[in-house]
């Protein structure tokens, strides 16, 4: 924590060395977050750059009540959401239609896939599904919280999650079939 304070103080004095040090310390993990929320690598690059700009802009607001990494994480998730919301406006309306079927999708096939393959599956989801999936499944937010963050209803959040899982299952099935054909 003491190291963090020193690093933040130096960053607040606009020290390029300190800024680079902070970047190097967190870039890999924040790029991991960016990749999950982005549909393409270029979008992930945008989130990474915009996220760090926001971090340096708002660094004086960090109150040392939690970890620096946790604070950065929130900023990167918010940055990703901002970009996602913009993309959602231009996406197809069907993405936001509600679906009342209960979730119950078995994704056990995941254990057979590599991390890179699963990341590819997540990135392949439409932006609305992908954002809700990340927020609920990986970050652990509730549907009520997601609703507030994305300015959608709780039910829409649930249906987006359901649709995301259904889409993932279909992709897993396709992958399984493809692998099966290769083995034959």
């Amino acid at each position: 924590m003491h190291d963090d304070k020193d690093l933040i103080d130096r960053c607040l004095q606009n020290s390029p060395t300190a800024q680079k040090e902070l970047y190097e310390r967190f870039a890999a993990r924040m790029y991991g977050i960016s990749l999950r929320y982005a549909g393409q690598t270029l979008e992930a690059d945008d989130i990474l750059q915009e996220g760090f700009i926001r971090v340096f802009q708002k660094l004086n607001q960090f109150r040392f009540t939690g970890t620096l990494e946790g604070w950065l994480r929130k900023i990167f998730i918010n940055t990703a959401i901002t970009l996602a919301k913009r993309e959602m406006k231009f996406s197809r309306r069907e993405e936001f239609s509600t679906n009342n079927q209960p979730p119950g999708v078995d994704l056990d096939g995941l254990s057979k896939l590599s991390q890179k393959e699963i990341l590819g599956l997540i990135q392949g989801l439409p932006v609305g599904y992908r954002t809700v999936f990340n927020l609920y499944v990986i970050e652990g937010y509730t549907h009520a919280e997601i609703g507030q963050m994305l300015k959608i209803s709780e039910n829409t959040s649930k249906s987006q999650l359901y649709a995301a899982k259904r889409s993932l299952r279909m992709k897993l099935t396709e992958l399984g079939n493809d692998n099966g054909k290769e083995h034959r």
Partner: protein, 195 residues
Amino acid sequence: MTTEKNIDNIPRFRELFRDFEADPPPQSWDVIRSRLAGRTRDKKTPWLLNTMVEMFQPMNRLYPALTVLGVVLIALVIWLGIGPSNNIKGQALIDNTELARGTAFLFRVRDRAIPYDSVRFFGKLDLDSIGRFEFGRVPSGLYLLRIQVHPKSQFSKHYNHGYYGDQIHPDSATLVRTGNPVESYVVRVPKMVSE
């Protein structure tokens, strides 16, 4: 009751991606650094300018609306800048001698039928050493031009003022119409008639 474990392998996703790391592109830091350097430079510029620049950043939700507004405002400024404007220039004389000390007044005539009763003051200028004057950026229209002799002028004993058309009374003055930029209006101040 369902738990996270039996729904959709959520713990597996969390385990895989909660601390997921990936190497960012090598050029990312350079881009961030140059943008940060730009922002530091911005701090030296006035607050209002900084705020305006900030509002036009692509991350800002007002970006599209403000961009359109900005374009409209720029177009308006350009239109006003190149819009019609005129110069009214001339020289004040007294008996063919340049009036070195005096003031030129320009009044806009609103109603041609009652020119004197409808005038509105537009501007005034001190005459130069050879009696010349020039009003710039004058909107198109009709004007009344008056020359006032300075009280300390050598001519002030017998001359007080005159209107274009060499008249002492405004209702008999000749009105000046804009649109002839090369013309120079010569005003000969009439001598006061002693009673």
